[in-house]
């Protein structure tokens, strides 16, 4: 099935999603890699509201034109690096859509079931394609401390996708299925 979702997605909308569905999202998304995950979990207060956005595992390539930031290329980064943070991250920040690549492990899978979320895969390296779906750069946090790839960037996106639902909120995971197949 294919769905267009406006962010934030409701619990009902997330529950509808099954692995191998394709979604396109419209609304706000924020980027966070290893360092931003670590920092956000350590801070008492966050200067933006992650619960109304999708989380994008991405270290974008940005440029500043006339004091305004623009996205040059922004595909997903390898999600498995964030596995050590993600269950705590989902619990604390209430984000219910993750966009990444390569898949995540058991802990995230359980957290997605518990807090009703999905992990979606975007074609890794398709950075120019992704950049064209970003309508506006709404802000950036911790750019000085973390540098361009690791900072938290807030993007306004339109029909961002195609995103393949790879882990759903019912315990389904394409990666787990493939592993089982490989053992068989």
């Amino acid at each position: 099935m294919e769905y267009n979702l406006n962010l934030p997605a409701s619990k009902e909308e997330i529950k509808k999603l099954k692995i191998r569905d394709i979604i396109y999202v419209t609304g706000k998304i924020f980027t966070a890699r290893d360092e931003a995950h670590h920092m956000m979990l350590e801070k008492d207060e966050i200067p933006f509201n992650p619960s109304e956005m999708a989380l994008f595992h991405c270290g974008p390539l940005m440029k500043k034109d006339n004091s305004k930031w623009q996205v040059v290329s922004a595909g997903p980064t390898t999600s498995s690096r964030m596995e050590i943070f993600e269950d705590k991250f989902l619990e604390r920040f209430g984000t219910n859509i993750i966009i990444g690549k390569g898949g995540m492990g058991d802990k995230t899978e359980k957290a997605l079931q518990q807090f009703t979320g999905v992990y979606t895969a975007y074609a890794g390296g398709a950075g120019a394609l992704a950049a064209d779906k970003v309508e506006e750069v709404l802000g950036v946090y911790w750019l000085e401390e973390l540098g361009m790839p690791e900072a938290a960037w807030i993007f306004k996106v339109k029909e961002f996708g195609p995103l393949v639902v790879a882990i759903d909120s019912h315990g389904g995971s394409i990666y787990k299925e493939l592993k089982k197949q490989l053992k068989a």
């Binding site: 191998r20 040059v72 390898t78 390296g125 398709a126 540098g147 197949q181």
Partner: protein, 286 residues
């Protein structure tokens, strides 16, 4: 000689590598598109659209513009060998601003980003010498996601080449979707630990579809392609027929007690571009 002009040549070399994928890779991805279906087809479709878009808009195809890596063969009669290192360094700094490239060099101790894609030992350049007066440079920007799947196996010689083959297949199955498949896998067999890794990396410079000239090795390459693709990992690890576009093997003689196997992995963005600098300072990028 106009060194600044040659620096601009380095910028064009990097731009070519970052925005325009070699034809051998695109052809191979198109073949993958033909045989894949469902989710796997959507991934190859996004990749091909992205490649097209990047080329037309002269933008880096992937936001991970890599660690700037160069393989340089210096003709010993080139008159300004002493300037080459500086030219490459300045070219990388310029390219970072002009193309632009993502600042990708981080101090491992302080975590500080150097912001211009240079730093200690980086850009990473392999220097070799040849006869003649031309300098040949291959730009090979290397992404982190695929680099993280590199492996070195110091196998026991008793396991033989079959053991080496199994090691490559098992490691690529473990890597699954992480290195952005369909990948190109470079394997160095023999030498010591560092040489095996180096040969693996150098094997990636070979165009997709080109077999090792040694027929025995060529056959093993074909066998490994089949075995890894049979895993069903597929594009982006979401299931499918194409996990690798190619496997390239290079060899070196080994110590009787060692069987080193170095695996270097390149994502589908198998970015390579070439430049020739002539002895009069003129240059071409292709």
């Amino acid at each position: 000689m106009n060194f600044e002009d040659i620096e601009n040549g380095i910028v064009e070399l990097i731009r070519k590598a970052e925005t325009d994928l070699p034809k051998d890779v695109i052809d191979s991805l198109k073949k993958a598109y033909e045989i894949e279906e469902g989710v796997a087809k959507t991934q190859i479709d996004a990749i091909l659209t992205n490649i097209d878009l990047a080329k037309k808009s002269k933008r880096p195809m992937c936001q991970d513009t890599g660690i700037q890596t160069f393989f340089v063969t210096i003709g010993i009669d080139f008159p300004h060998i002493d300037k080459l290192k500086e030219i490459i360094l300045n070219g990388v700094k310029k390219a970072t601003k002009e193309i632009p490239l993502r600042p990708n060099t981080v101090d491992p101790f302080t975590g500080e980003n150097h912001k211009d894609n240079t730093g200690f030992q980086i850009p990473y350049v392999t220097w070799e010498f040849s006869d003649g007066s031309d300098v040949k440079i291959t730009a090979f920007p290397k992404g982190g996601g695929s680099e993280n799947m590199s492996k070195l196996g110091m196998l026991k010689p008793g396991v033989g080449i079959d053991g080496a083959k199994d090691f490559v297949v098992e490691e690529m199955i473990k890597a699954a979707g992480n290195p952005c498949p369909p990948t190109v896998v470079g394997v160095g067999i023999g030498g010591g630990a560092d040489l095996a890794m180096k040969l693996g990396k150098k094997a990636l410079l070979r165009p997709v579809g080109e077999r090792n000239t040694d027929k025995t090795i060529a056959k093993i390459e074909e066998e490994l392609i089949k075995r890894i693709n049979k895993s069903g990992i597929g594009p982006m690890g979401l299931g499918g027929k194409t996990t690798v576009l190619d496997v390239h093997i290079e060899k070196a003689h080994r110590h009787p007690a060692s069987l080193p196997v170095g695996i270097a992995v390149q994502c589908w963005a198998d970015r390579r571009a070439h430049m020739i600098i002539h002895s009069d300072g003129t240059w071409e990028v292709k």
